[in-house]
């Protein structure tokens, strides 16, 4: 295949009784920003270490640029890596750190100097070449780590939670920058994170990982709007969950009976009448109205009545917490317009039927 930079074929890695990575297949295209998203312990870092050669798979094959590298050590793979705690060499200056990969490749002095200049200016590190890592701020260390990862123009760059140790403001700044470097250089980036916002902001495609397996791989909008499992629905974005049983099936729709009434949702593939089910609706897919709307029920929309309990103001948006008669809370995210409702007002929450993602109940 052309354009495929990295290919994993049925890669498995076990640690004693734990299967960290379980028969995983993956193909990363040239020029793609790919995020591996999952909670800690889901196997994403192990998978990254297998790609880097720091961990050997028990089964399966790893191909980089069409060449099998499964049994090659890390130093023979031509990948770059950015580590969570940067791992800059403390006894080397910034410049020495950055050119380290080129020195290991025995690049000529002239080539090294030229690349160093390029990397320093790309990452806005001009004038810092002579400093030691402990004399830099967190953001500068991060950029040195990126420069070191990129200077040898690797076949792909692996990033292991590189922003986890930075403060919030710096993080969002670096998210944009890292994506810009990736688009400029056209090198595929594989980005491991447990932070869904990072994954959504930066990547083109996302794989959501859990217990060593991919729950879903797809374009980030696909993952966000069309989750393939209950886990993805809860892990990506913020969703309300309504759990109940299927009371009736009407064509493509299922009517779900649940303590507080009944709602309609797209029918999940194999669900039968009576099976336990959860509907996930993203906070921002729900809308809140004053109680005056009661009585009108537009086609294709679910409505539930409740009481506004609180408004969490977040700036660009506000979260409206609505208490339902059943005792459950729904969170509705909307623009913080004043005057929609006040706490303790009776309100109506509505959402389009197709916004509900419906999966068999896991926790039953």
């Amino acid at each position: 295949m052309t354009g495929v930079t990295l290919e994993l074929q049925s890669v498995t890695r076990r640690f004693g009784p734990v299967t960290a990575v379980d028969k995983t297949d993956l193909a990363i295209e040239q020029g793609e920003f790919f995020a591996l998203l999952g909670p800690s312990g889901s196997g994403k870092t192990t998978l990254l270490r297998i790609i880097a050669g720091l961990e050997r798979p028990d089964e399966g094959r790893v191909l980089i640029g069409g060449r099998e590298v499964t049994d090659l050590p890390p130093y023979a793979r031509n990948v770059g890596m950015v580590f969570q705690n940067f791992l800059l060499f403390p006894h080397k200056t910034v410049a020495e750190n950055i050119v380290f990969p080129l020195r290991m490749q025995r690049a000529s002095r002239a080539h090294r100097d030229e690349q160093l200049k390029w990397a320093l200016s790309l990452l806005r590190l001009d004038g810092l070449g002579g400093r030691y890592p402990n004399e830099l701020s967190g953001g500068q260390q991060q950029r040195v780590a990126l420069a070191r990862g990129l200077i040898a123009r690797p076949a792909l760059l692996l990033l292991d939670e590189p922003l986890a140790n930075l403060d919030r403001e710096l993080r969002s700044e670096m998210e944009v920058e890292i994506r810009r470097y990736q688009k400029e250089l056209g090198i595929p980036f594989i980005y491991v994170t447990h932070n869904q916002e990072e994954a959504l902001t930066m990547s083109d495609r996302i794989a959501v990982m859990r217990n060593g397996r991919f729950e879903q791989i797809g374009a980030k909008t696909e993952i966000y709007t069309n989750p393939a499992s209950a886990f993805v629905a809860t892990f990506v974005g913020h969703a309300n969950r309504i759990s109940g049983g299927i009371a009736d099936i009407q064509g493509d729709l299922a009517r779900i009976e649940w303590g507080g009434g009944s709602v309609l949702a797209p029918r999940p593939g194999s669900a039968q009448r009576g099976s336990a089910i959860s509907v996930f609706v993203k906070h921002e897919d729900m809308a809140i109205h004053g109680a005056g709307l009661n009585g009108k029920r537009p086609e294709g929309v679910n409505q539930l009545a409740g009481t506004l309990r609180d408004i969490i103001f977040k700036g660009q948006t506000a979260n409206y917490i609505v208490a339902l008669p059943t005792g459950d809370d729904l969170v509705v995210s909307g623009t913080p317009r004043a005057g929609v409702a006040r706490p303790n007002d009776a309100v109506i929450v509505s959402w389009p039927i197709e916004a509900g993602a419906c999966f068999p109940r896991e926790d039953a």
Binding site: Y75, N85, L87
Partner: protein, 267 residues
């Protein structure tokens, strides 16, 4: 700020402790310059003891032997201790604690026992004669244990992920060690070398049994003691102590000036 009675009594206690530790050594150094070594008061000084010391060919041969022995033992100790410490930290095993204890156990064996054991083992089992090399090996037993502790103390703070990073960027394991690990941990290797050097240099019992008739400074000093305290012995003791003191002073200065840093420097 005025010193209170508590501070004063603590300072006095500290002073007494130092006298307790270094009084005898100070006395020997003082006496080595005295005209009358039996009762060196009131003070009257001469360098005669040092002249006698340097004119004796026995002492210069013994010094050469001691330096050779100490260097050899220190090299062996440092290499074994470094390999042991790295091995114990890098490769996790159920038997890690046991392996660690076995490394430091020689510290609790009397020098005399090590000497006799090595003598018996070398002569009976291996059929080896006593010489400088077997003395180096025997002295390295305790040197390795001490060096192991020193290196381990620094190495526990070393981040082995550094090696992972270096390998991803193209460094083979050996290159990785010399580029990344060694520049970070060399002060502890240096410390292990110095300690095992001084231990072997000063050792009498182990060397005595493994060297046979070959003289070292401690064995010559011991031998001449049988003919009464000579002034040149005081001079020898003063010089050896001066040398050890110098080594420690240099180490201290290197650390103060930040040329040698213990511990991990980094972000």
């Amino acid at each position: 700020m005025r010193a209170g009675p508590a501070t004063l009594s603590m300072s006095a206690a500290l002073g007494l402790l130092y006298v307790f530790l270094y009084g005898p050594i100070g006395y020997v150094i003082y006496t080595s310059f005295a005209v009358d070594i039996v009762w060196p008061f009131p003070p009257s000084f001469t360098l005669q003891a040092y002249v006698d010391l340097f004119s004796s060919s026995l002492y210069s041969e013994a010094l050469t032997n001691s330096l050779t022995l100490a260097t050899g033992a220190a090299v062996i100790s440092t290499l074994l201790a470094a390999a042991g410490a790295i091995g114990i930290l890098r490769f996790r095993s159920r038997y890690r604690t046991a392996a660690l204890l076995i490394f430091i156990a020689p510290l609790f064996v009397a020098d005399l026992l090590i000497g006799i054991s090595v003598l018996a083992f070398n002569a009976r089992v291996l059929g080896l004669p006593g010489n400088l090399f077997s003395a180096m090996a025997a002295n390295a037993i305790q040197g390795t244990a001490f060096g192991f502790l020193i290196i381990l103390a620094q190495l526990v703070r070393y981040n082995w992920d550094m090696d992972d990073a270096a390998m991803v960027f193209g460094a083979k394991p050996l290159r990785c060690f010399f580029e990344i690990t060694l520049p970070t941990i060399w002060p502890s290797l240096f410390g292990a070398f110095l300690i095992s050097f001084i231990l072997a240099f000063n050792n009498l019992e182990i060397s005595f049994y493994t060297l046979g008739a070959i003289p070292t400074l401690p064995s010559v000093a011991w031998g001449s003691l049988r003919f009464g305290l000579g002034a040149e012995l005081f001079a020898l003791a003063a010089l050896v102590n001066g040398f050890v003191f110098l080594v420690f002073a240099v180490m201290y200065l290197l650390m103060r000036l930040g040329i040698v840093r213990f511990g991990y420097r980094g972000g």
